[in-house]
């Protein structure tokens, strides 16, 4: 048991390193049942420390025990939040000003920390955030093999098909695309690995820390970290000769035209979008324009009918119907 706890804590070591001593001690003493499936650590100034695990939230006392009463939980002080920011920035706020402007910091190990505070606006644009007082530490998970169920649908006769993954938030969209990238890049019995280019605008897929991917994204994968998708896709086409380009969460008009460029260059595209299902996607202007153009050959829909990350539907865009007989997980 103790070994399991140590292993779980080792996995989140980069997160623990970014916390002040007192909070680190508290997180280390959280019961294993909560710790092993930790999804988020929520830190909000002058409010109780909370963690999310298996879709439930818990207030955490000073001794690490979960409680239902927020008044008994450890209350985050302003000294805590200031210290967290200093530690997460490695005492160098200037080095992460762009990340602060985007509202998140990526820690070593690829863990993403969402930030909230007060915006400083200049000329109608957000210059920076000040009084940062809320942190959402997301514990990303690599699940090797999670794409096994999907690959037969998106690979045909040794070729990757243009694929769009639709999913509501927190349904394992990024975890899935990460494993798809890894398997396409590494190859597997019956499929030779392909050169994959990843435009990781929000550093979520590869979890790059100082340019080095912290998650396994395969041996033939090149990553453009923190680069806007539209620019990144064009750059990859010009310079890295990828056979497949993968990106996360398309949603802007320029993303769509960059994807079209890639198609014209004969490159396969794998991407994701926020949406509950195909009908929902059709109602959204940008997504519906992409769908109307019949760019994609497969559309995968994720949901939670059999638990988080269930593959609900697989649309074959030529046949214009769902080719999955029942949801699989």
């Amino acid at each position: 048991m103790e070994q399991k706890v140590t292993k779980a804590l080792d996995k989140i070591q980069p997160v623990l390193d970014a916390l002040p001593d007192n909070l680190r001690k508290i997180i280390c003493t959280i019961p294993f049942t909560i710790l092993k499936d930790l999804e988020e650590i929520r830190i909000r100034q002058n409010r109780p420390l909370m963690v999310y695990s298996r879709g439930k939230d818990y207030f955490i006392r000073e001794n690490g025990e979960p409680t239902l009463n927020p008044l008994e939980a450890y209350c985050i002080s302003s000294r805590d939040t200031q210290r967290i920011l200093q530690l997460m920035a490695d005492f160098s706020l200037y080095a992460i000003e762009e990340e602060i402007r985007n509202g998140y910091i990526t820690l070593k190990g690829g863990y993403r920390v969402g930030l909230a505070g007060k915006g400083v606006i200049e000329g109608g644009k957000l210059r920076t955030l000040k009084y940062i007082n809320s942190f959402n530490i997301r514990i990303t998970r690599e699940i090797p093999g999670v794409a096994d169920k999907v690959l037969p649908f998106i690979i045909k006769e040794g070729n990757v098909l243009h694929t769009l993954i639709l999913s509501p938030p927190q349904m394992g969209k990024t975890t899935l695309i990460r494993d798809i990238i890894r398997q396409i890049s590494d190859g597997f019995p019956g499929f030779d690995g392909k050169k994959v280019g990843v435009v990781d605008e929000r550093s979520e897929i590869s979890g790059c820390y100082q340019g080095i991917p912290q998650n396994d994204v395969g041996i033939r994968t090149d990553i453009l970290d923190a680069c806007p998708k539209a620019i990144g896709i064009t750059m990859l086409i010009r310079s890295m000769s990828p056979q497949v380009i993968a990106t996360d969460e398309i949603g802007r008009e320029e993303d769509v035209s960059a994807i079209e460029d890639a198609l014209n260059a004969g490159i396969k595209i794998i991407t994701t979008a926020h949406s509950n299902d195909l009908q929902d996607a059709m109602r959204r202007p940008i997504l519906s324009s992409v769908l109307d153009k019949n760019i994609f050959e497969r559309i995968l829909v994720l949901g939670n009918s059999l638990g988080t990350g269930t593959l609900e539907e697989v649309y074959d865009c030529k046949l214009k119907r769902n080719i999955l007989s029942k949801p699989i997980r």
């Binding site: 210290r83 200093q86 490695d90 005492f91 706020l93 200037y94 080095a95 000003e97």
Partner: protein
Amino acid sequence: MILKILSSVVIVICCGLIGLYKANRYIQRVKEIRMLKTALIQLETEIIYFSNFMSDALSAVAKSVQGPWRDFFYKVARVLADRTEYSVAECWRKNLDYYKKQFFIGEPEYEILVRFGSNLGTSDSESQKKYFELAQQQLLVEERKAEELCSKYVQMYRSLGILCGLAIAIILF
């Protein structure tokens, strides 16, 4: 008689050395201010243009400075990398105090450095640049003052040491 002559020679040498030591402090102060200015320019490049993390930037600066300043920059870099200190400001100040006796800089330069350290790493690169400019300007003023004092007192202390030694020797003779 021989003893008297010997002791007089020793007195003159000692006083001369004290004079030289006093004069040397003025020269070294100017040298240290100049070195600090160069070190801050390097630190600014590391921070503003390369966007390196503070501990890496300070280690890089440590390689190009000498004496106790090298130890100071290395120590601050190491403590920041270990994450044992609350902030850069605290770490910077504690180590300045620790090494202060080994430095030749005067009180005004010490104050400039403390103020500079309290803002180090706490804001975006644009404002960091302004703090660097401010520190450079203030150090320049102090450098000029120190040079003036240097030209005024170095020769005086050198001669004064030997003259005092001679005076004491003559009185004792």
